[in-house]
């Protein structure tokens, strides 16, 4: 089930909220857990078993590590429980691509392909595994105590609000609320408004642009106009899809009495690649920093080790995203190289780039990297790059021309305005607090939400990008 769907909004959510609010406080974790399992099992009941198994594995791991007699034993148990998690993730993510790559090698020697039934990636597995790993490491470090209640730990791990697509919530952030939380009017109102804003972001902008992006990225020879239109639309689509979903998750969390951190902070206004990663998918980038980059030595062991660590960390982040092609690894490496270059530039005392140019260069690099991220396979990415550099002609292709509608222009315009809006934030905040302004603040999320519901109803099915991760 996804948030932007009829069954979630008019079936699951009202029934769940009614049960949740009417339940005594001590039952709420149980209600949350079982309803979340129902939510997860809605589309793929078979994968629910894997999910439940991983939940028990994480809970058991925490207990075992916590009770281990020595630091060394805690480390060994930690490695054991993490390896099982990572192997599970690797199996579902990379088994197909490894077999495909082996088949390519075998084909060179005129050997037949390996007999293989393709593995299907369970929804949300990457997020589940990262949450589990962070919990186990935190228990081993002593940052948090192992949770003895399997219901409580299960509610943390399986909470439907961030189950499918994140944000990655660490146990330490919600441990207090898991024990005791207030389900009140203040949180509910803030959460409801946030849910509406997130829904508008996802449905009005991201989902509207989605068919054009799909069409352009499936062209054999996109022209300059096609390629940049596709890349630009995808840049907007990805942000509004993912940030919208995060906003919905944060809003739902608030409605249930949880307070999650922000996951995005206007990433397309970043002044450098480093700044971009401070603003994009913050729960992932901070996870990578705390559980990968710093344990690898970070920048504590000299410059060259720091460069190596940055590159390795970003490559692993790329691998985590990917599953169906090596493009994601290349995307991670590209970001790693960009971070290294930025660091080298600074360390070698090169002149500072003017602020406006730095913003533009960052955005252009991010967009070019998104091309690699979105294209299905290396050849498709190269075809898009040829288009972006004008090697396939200039004008818009016929196939794309006939797809474009006024609604796409509106969605793209709305997206660009929302991306640039923080530039006028100060001016907006300095305006007097009039009734008209308050009315606007109340009306636009509601109007966006109702329009989004209309679009969902008119479409029938709702795509979501981050399912693949």
């Amino acid at each position: 089930m996804v948030f932007a769907s009829l069954e979630f909004l008019t079936l699951f959510l009202p029934v769940f909220l009614a049960i949740y609010v009417l339940s005594p406080a001590r039952w709420r974790n149980g209600v949350l857990l079982f309803c979340s399992w129902f939510f997860y099992g809605w589309w793929s009941p078979v994968f629910l078993l894997l999910f439940i198994a991983l939940t028990f594995w994480g809970w058991l791991g925490g207990m075992v590590i916590d009770k281990a007699p020595s630091r060394r034993a805690r480390g060994c148990w930690l490695a054991f429980f993490i390896i099982v998690n990572v192997l599970t993730l690797c199996w579902y993510k990379y088994a197909n691509i490894v077999v495909d790559s082996l088949d390519s090698v075998l084909a060179l020697g005129h050997a037949g392909p390996i007999a293989w039934q393709r593995v299907v990636l369970p929804i949300g597995l990457s997020f589940i595994v990262l949450q589990s790993i962070s919990y186990l490491i935190d228990v081993q470090r002593g940052t948090v105590q192992a949770d003895h209640s399997v219901i409580r730990y299960g509610a943390y791990q399986g909470m439907f609000v961030h189950l499918i697509a994140g944000p990655i919530i660490r146990y330490a952030w919600v441990k207090r609320e898991l024990v005791s939380r207030t389900v009140g009017w203040d949180g509910f109102t803030a959460g409801a408004r946030r849910l509406m804003v997130g829904m508008s972001m996802k449905v009005l902008v991201a989902d509207t642009l989605s068919p054009i992006v799909d069409a352009i990225f499936s062209l054999h020879s996109p022209t300059l106009a096609d390629a940049w239109l596709g890349c630009g639309f995808y840049t907007l689509q990805l942000f509004f899809d993912f940030a919208g979903y995060s906003a919905m998750a944060i809003g739902l969390g608030q409605m249930l009495g949880f307070r999650f951190p922000e996951n995005f902070n206007h990433p397309y206004l970043a002044s450098s690649i480093q700044d971009f990663w401070r603003r994009w998918h913050i729960s992932l980038s901070s996870w990578i920093r705390d559980y990968l980059y710093i344990p690898m030595g970070g920048n504590r062991h000299g410059e060259w080790r720091a460069y190596r660590n940055v590159l390795l960390t970003m490559a692993i982040a790329g691998l985590w995203h990917g599953g169906d092609s090596w493009n994601f690894l290349l995307w991670g490496i590209a970001h790693g190289v960009a971070l290294m270059v930025a660091r080298l530039w600074r360390n070698f005392g090169m002149p500072a780039v003017p602020s406006w140019l730095s913003h533009v260069l960052t955005l252009v690099f991010v967009m070019l990297a998104w091309t690699l991220f979105r294209a299905v396979g290396f050849h498709a990415a190269m075809a898009m790059y040829r288009g972006q550099f004008g090697l396939n002609g200039i004008g818009l292709s016929d196939g794309i021309h006939v797809l474009l509608r006024p609604l796409h222009a509106l969605a793209a315009g709305l997206g660009i305005v929302c991306v640039l809006l923080p530039l006028w934030q100060q001016r907006w905040e300095s305006l007097p607090d009039t009734a008209l302004r308050r009315l606007w603040q109340a009306a636009w999320p509601l109007a966006g939400f109702l329009l989004s519901f209309g679009l969902i109803a008119a479409r029938g099915s709702v795509p979501f990008l981050y399912f693949q991760f």
């Binding site: 069954e7 009202p14 401070r278 016929d398 209309g454 109803a457």
Partner: protein, 375 residues
Amino acid sequence: MEDPKPLPQLPATGAGKIAAVALMVFMFGGLVSNIWFASATRALLPQAATKASILDGKVSKELAARMANTPLASAAARTQRALSWLTLRDLGPRVRQGCPGWLFLRDELNVYADGDSHLDTRAATVSAVQRALARHGIALLVAVVPDKSRIEQQHLCSLYRPASLNSRLDDWLSRLTAEGVPAVDLSAALRSVPGDAFFRTDTHWTQDGAGAAARTVAKRIRAMGVPLGSSKAGYRVEDEPAARRPGDLVRLAGLDDLPPSWQPAPEIVASRRYIPVAKAASSADDLFGDEDLPNVAVIGTSYSTTSDFVPQLALALGTGVGNFARDGGKFGGSAQAYFTSTAYAQTPPKLIVWELDERDLQSPLEAQDAVTVPK
């Protein structure tokens, strides 16, 4: 990088209160609407939920699809379509507007990556069907209905019709000619219609357009010299007063529920009615009553079922014509159904007219496009 910090808990604002109340009204209203729909129509829950269909997620997918029919979802979808049209002149993914009031089906304008290969495959299918029919002594004539956007070019205004589609019809006809399949191009006939050959708000041809096409097809059939038998055309024609005709493109755009003055300019059409005439008793020699069965059968798409194409063809030929076309049949739908029907098996015709839409020729191949004639 700073550690992510949980959001502060702030007191409820006015905007938040409005959002919360509206969300609750909406959610629980939706729930009530779903329950009412499920109990009144029994159409929400899947009929046959098995353990296997629950486990592989089919049941939940089916339920999700059916929810689009609930009152709240239908009303929301209609409102969204209406707002898009009234504010942006957006007609949804399937319909485009040319000159004011002139609507076109987007499928006609699609450019397919492997379009030529699909067209070749379809030409090979038609050729194989013709050879198989010939072995049974049945002739085949292919009649291609050109795109509305090709014939009504003067009404496209700023609507873009890709230049690469210009040769699609000629390519198809030359491939059929090379295979020795008789085919008739209806473009010239449709262009010669004094008024409009196609409706403004509908994808189909007008009665005059269908009549011009029918006469062209009849002329070609006569030229083929196929024995047409003695069945009677059997229609009486009456004039009907001009009336508003709802267009299928308005329905496809989801605007048919809007007040007429808000819809794309409505179409007032004066038409003729083709009333089947009761047949006279069969001759004494025709003991089992099959002497009067038509020797011409039409298979094809909704073009053959609208604007009285078949009655007009029958009158132009002076003989009965059996209509086996199907709405939404696309390239092979009605052909596949007809060749496996008892009508074909028990009373095969002498000539089959296969009416095809130009827009379907290059579209991706579907299972129903694999047409074969039983041996």
